[in-house]
């Protein structure tokens, strides 16, 4: 946690989810198949949100709280371990 400064000007402090749970922006959601994953980590490095998390075993998991559903991860996956599916209608 950053120390707070006692001054009234536009100073902001780091926070995960600064814009809230951006997962709510999603129209398509990524579905990850661990058995297909070859641990190349292309989905991890190319995720614009940092929502694809690197696991200790070298595989990945996707933080659905923040995933905006852009589909880059599915698109860069050479073995189709991630596919995009439409979110269910609310």
């Amino acid at each position: 946690m950053s120390k707070k400064y006692n001054v009234v000007t536009s100073i902001s402090y780091p926070k995960e989810g600064a814009m809230g749970k951006t997962g709510s922006w999603r129209v398509f959601k990524p579905i990850f198949s661990k058995d297909k994953c070859v641990k190349c980590l292309r989905c991890w490095i190319f995720c614009p949100e940092g929502a694809v998390k690197k696991n200790k075993d070298g595989s990945v998991s996707i933080d659905m709280d923040y995933c905006k559903g852009c589909g880059i991860c599915a698109n860069v996956c050479n073995v189709k371990a991630i596919i995009m599916e439409r979110e269910e209608q609310q």
Partner: protein, 301 residues
């Protein structure tokens, strides 16, 4: 260095205000992995000023100083001097600016800071438009591209910013692309290790700005390299070294794909294909790309 060897640390926190598929955050994640914690970022007006998110929160876990549009390099000069005078000489100071803030309104401050040998890294993430203001033409917008201010397609070629930068005889400059993370990471690492002014420009294909589907951000970068619409290179000790496929293109070891293979996926060039093919402009775009590469070969092969 393979992707799996890149550091786990994240300084761009999830849940930011970036558009889905944003190339700027892809680039920034990689850049900050290379620069590490002891880093200060100076941001002029650009998409990143929005991506940071809204007061009193920020999505960036490093110190960030926002500054006016044309002032990134000058602000960075001040930050660098201020930290150095306090003995904080190990802190990396870097400016992170868009192409509008670099090619156009910020070029004077940038040129001045490089000429003064300011010890900093200036990184331009180039999406070839003023995207934050809603897609207007910049000096980096390529020939033929639609923007809201070049409604029939841009009639001028883009600036060769790399040439302008190299004319300053700085210790290090490079061109990279978000689609090549290891290459970008290595370039930023190298820049961090060199004293004096360093310039890195990252091609950042922008889904809403270029009108392509948001999952194609990385593909658009790859095609830019494969067609020669963008080049990966380093300029160090007055020597140019092309990297990856750009090196093979330079040495004619591979044939470039036609530029059309890159632009046909981008809605900003759709008027060149529909309702009828604009052969004249398409040829001019290809010719312009060929001229750039011929010049590269004459100068640097």
């Amino acid at each position: 260095m393979a992707i799996k060897d890149l550091p786990d640390t994240e300084y761009v926190l999830a849940g930011s205000a970036a558009c889905p598929g944003c190339p700027a955050t892809i680039g920034l994640r990689i850049v900050l992995k290379a620069l590490g914690k002891n880093t200060v970022m100076i941001v002029p007006a650009c998409c990143t000023a929005v991506i940071e998110s809204v007061y009193p929160n920020t999505s960036f876990d490093i110190p960030v100083m926002n500054i006016a549009f044309e002032a990134a390099a000058a602000g960075a000069s001040g930050v660098e001097a201020g930290l150095r005078m306090q003995g904080k000489k190990d802190t990396t100071v870097f400016a992170w600016a868009g192409d509008g803030g670099t090619y156009d309104i910020g070029i004077q401050a940038l040129s001045g800071a490089i000429e003064r040998q300011t010890n900093f890294i200036y990184i331009c993430y180039n999406n070839q438009i003023y995207s934050n203001t809603g897609i207007q033409r910049s000096g980096a917008t390529p020939l033929g591209a639609w923007t809201t201010t070049t409604v029939g397609g841009k009639t001028e070629v883009r600036k060769e910013m790399g040439d302008i930068i190299r004319a300053h005889h700085l210790p290090y400059a490079a061109q990279a692309c978000i689609s090549y993370p290891e290459d970008l990471y290595n370039k930023v690492k190298k820049a961090k290790s060199i004293k004096g002014p360093k310039y890195i420009e990252i091609l950042a294909p922008c889904p809403p700005g270029w009108h392509f589907p948001m999952e194609k951000t990385v593909d658009m970068g790859v095609l830019a390299i494969e067609t020669g619409a963008w080049a990966l290179y380093e300029f160090e000790n007055e020597k140019m070294i092309f990297n990856g496929k750009s090196k093979l293109l330079l040495e004619k070891k591979i044939e470039p794909k036609p530029v059309e293979e890159w632009i046909k996926y981008q809605g900003r060039f759709r008027h060149l294909f529909k309702p009828t093919r604009d052969e004249k402009t398409l040829k001019a775009i290809q010719d312009n790309t060929d001229i750039i590469w011929e010049r590269y070969r004459k100068c640097y092969l």
